[in-house]
C-alpha cells in the first residue's frame, strides 16, 4: 500500500538538493552560455554543460550504477578510446603540406610546448601532486584530445575541469594570442615579410610522412603511440586516397557521435564536492598561464630563428606553434595584417601550426613517459 514511505520517495528529489548541486547546476549554465551564446567550442562545451547539468540533478539515475552517463564514461573515457577516435578524424582533415614544404618549422612546434613544463613547476609549488601537476601542465598543449588522454591516465579525478579548460582556451585563441604576440614583438618584427615559395609535395612523401612520424615517435616515446598513431592513421587514410569511405566516416559520423558521448561523459564527472575545490580555480588559472607561456615561448624561439636567419623569419609565426590547428595560424595572419594589410604569413603560420599539432602530441607522450605512467 501507498504510505508515508511512498510519499517520502516523491519528495526525495527535492530533499536531496544540496548547495553543491545548485552551484554545479550554475556552472553547467555558464558552460551552456559559453557554448550557445558566446560560441566557445560549442561541440564540446554544450555536451559537457548538459552532462554536468544532468549529473547534478538530485539523485540523478544517469550517474547511478548502470546509469547512461556512467556507461558512456566506461565506453570511451575510462579506456581513452573517445579522444583517440577524435584524433583519427582530426588527422583525416589535417594537411601537413605547409610543414612539408618548410620542414624547419617543426622546431617552432617544439618551442610552443614550453608552457606545459613551466606550468607543471608552478602547479608543483602550489601543492599539487606530480601527476596532477603534469595533468594541469598538459592544458598547455592547447589540444583537447591530448589533454583528455593524458589527464585521463594521470589524474582522472581532474578530468572535468582540465577538459573544460582545454577546450575553453582553444576557443579563446583569437582573444589570448594577439596580446601575447604584441607583448613579445616590436612593430618592426611584426612587419617582416617572408618569401613565399611552393614545392610540389609528391603523393609518396605525403603518404610516407604519417608512417615515418608514427614509427619515429612511437619507437622513441612509446607512451605517445596511441595519440600520434591515431592522428597519423587519419592522415594516412586521407593522403592515401584509397579509403575515402573510412576517411569520411572518421571525420564525420564517428567524430560527431564520439564528440557527443565524450562531452556528456566528461560533464558527468563534474559532480559536487569533487569539483568545488580551490584546486579547480587553480587549474583554470594555471591552464590559462600555460597557454600564454606557450605563446611567449613560441614567439621567443621564432625570434632566435629570425636572428639566426638574418631577419628572414617573422617572429609572430612562432605563436602558431602552440597547436589549435588551424585557428592559431589564422590569428597570426590577422595580427600581421593589422599592421600591414598586404603581409601574408598564413602559409608559414600553417606550417608552424601543423608542427605544433605534432609537437603537442609528442609532448603529451613525453610527459606520460617522464611520469612513468603505466610503465
Amino acid at each position: 500500500m501507498i504510505d508515508q514511505e511512498t510519499i517520502g520517495l516523491l519528495l526525495k528529489g527535492v530533499n536531496n538538493v544540496t548547495w553543491q548541486s545548485l552551484v554545479m547546476i550554475g556552472v553547467s549554465f555558464v558552460l551552456l552560455y559559453l557554448a550557445i551564446v558566446k560560441d566557445y567550442e560549442p561541440l564540446l562545451l554544450l555536451p559537457i554543460g548538459a552532462g554536468c547539468l544532468l549529473a547534478n540533478l538530485p539523485l540523478s539515475p544517469l550517474i547511478g550504477e548502470e546509469g547512461m552517463l556512467v556507461a558512456l564514461y566506461h565506453m570511451g573515457v575510462g579506456n581513452e578510446m573517445f579522444p583517440l577516435l577524435i584524433f583519427i578524424g582530426i588527422g583525416a582533415l589535417t594537411d601537413f603540406g605547409p610543414l612539408l614544404e618548410n620542414p624547419r618549422l617543426v622546431l617552432l612546434g617544439a618551442a610552443g610546448q614550453f608552457g606545459i613544463f613551466l606550468t607543471l613547476i608552478l602547479a608543483l609549488l602550489l601543492g599539487f601532486t606530480p601527476n596532477e601537476a603534469a595533468s594541469i601542465g598538459i592544458i598547455g598543449a592547447i589540444d583537447g584530445p591530448t589533454s583528455i588522454y593524458v589527464s585521463g591516465i594521470l589524474a582522472p579525478h581532474m578530468l572535468g575541469p582540465i577538459t573544460v579548460a582545454a577546450y575553453s582556451y582553444m576557443s579563446l585563441v583569437p582573444i589570448i594570442l594577439p596580446p601575447v604576440i604584441h607583448l613579445m614583438t616590436t612593430k618592426e618584427e611584426r612587419l617582416i615579410r617572408m618569401p613565399y615559395s611552393s614545392r610540389k609535395i609528391s603523393r609518396r612523401t605525403r603518404i610516407l610522412f604519417p608512417i615515418i612520424v608514427t614509427v619515429l615517435v612511437g619507437t622513441l616515446v612509446p607512451f605517445a603511440t596511441p595519440l600520434i598513431g591515431m592522428l597519423m592513421l587519419g592522415n594516412l587514410m586521407k593522403e592515401s586516397g584509397a579509403v575515402e569511405r573510412l576517411t569520411k566516416a572518421s571525420a564525420a559520423e564517428i567524430a560527431n557521435t564520439v564528440t557527443l558521448f565524450l562531452g556528456l561523459a566528461i560533464g558527468s564527472t563534474m559532480v559536487g564536492a569533487d569539483f568545488l575545490k580551490p584546486s579547480t580555480l587553480f587549474i583554470l588559472v594555471l591552464g590559462l598561464l600555460a597557454f600564454a607561456l606557450d605563446g611567449c615561448a613560441g614567439v621567443f624561439f621564432a625570434k632566435i630563428l629570425n636572428w639566426l636567419s638574418g631577419g628572414k623569419i617573422n617572429p609572430i609565426i612562432g605563436a602558431a606553434g602552440i597547436s589549435a590547428f588551424p585557428m592559431a595560424a589564422r590569428v597570426v595572419q590577422r595580427v600581421a595584417q593589422e599592421e600591414d594589410f598586404e603581409n601574408f604569413l598564413l602559409m608559414h603560420a600553417m606550417g608552424a601550426n601543423a608542427a605544433g599539432q605534432v609537437a603537442s602530441v609528442v609532448a603529451g607522450g613525453v610527459v606520460l613517459a617522464l611520469m612513468g605512467a603505466g610503465g
Partner: protein
C-alpha cells in the same frame, strides 16, 4: 624545494626530448624531400595564401577546429574589404603590365587572375576581426 628541482629536471628533460624528436623528424623530412627532388619555387603572396586557406578550410571541419565567425573590419563586411584589397593589388599589377612587356610578372591566362574572386573569398575568411585600436 625538492619539487622545484624535480620540476626543473622535468622541464629540461621534457623540452629536450621534444626538441630532439622534432629535430630528428626535421632531418628525416629533409632527406625525403631530397629524394623527391622537387625544388621550392617562389610564388606570390596571394597564391601561397590561397593554398593555405584551402588547407585551413578543410581543417575547419574537424571537431574542435574553432571555425571563426563571419568577420567585420572597422564595421564593414570583411569580404568587401578583401575584395577591395584584391582589386587594388590587381589594379597595381595591370599598371605594371601596361608599362612594358618585360616587366610583366604574370602572363595573360595566368591562373592568378582567373581566380581573383576566389582569392577574395578565401581572404575574407582570413579577416574576421576588428583591427586593434580603431
Amino acid at each position: 624545494m625538492e619539487n622545484l628541482g624535480w620540476g626543473l629536471q622535468m622541464t629540461v628533460l621534457g623540452m629536450g626530448l621534444v626538441f630532439a624528436l622534432l629535430a630528428v623528424l626535421w632531418a628525416i623530412l629533409n632527406l625525403i624531400l631530397k629524394l623527391d627532388q622537387e625544388e621550392a619555387e617562389p610564388v606570390t603572396a596571394l597564391e601561397a595564401t590561397q593554398a593555405a586557406e584551402q588547407i585551413a578550410a578543410v581543417a575547419d571541419g574537424a571537431v574542435g577546429a574553432q571555425i571563426p565567425e563571419p568577420a567585420t573590419v572597422n564595421g564593414m563586411r570583411a569580404d568587401l574589404v578583401a575584395a577591395i584589397l584584391v582589386a587594388t593589388m590587381q589594379h597595381r599589377r595591370v599598371l605594371r603590365r601596361q608599362a612594358a612587356p618585360m616587366m610583366r610578372s604574370y602572363w595573360p591566362g595566368s591562373q592568378l587572375f582567373a581566380s581573383r574572386w576566389v582569392a577574395a573569398g578565401r581572404t575574407r575568411q582570413n579577416n574576421n576581426w576588428q583591427p586593434k585600436g580603431r
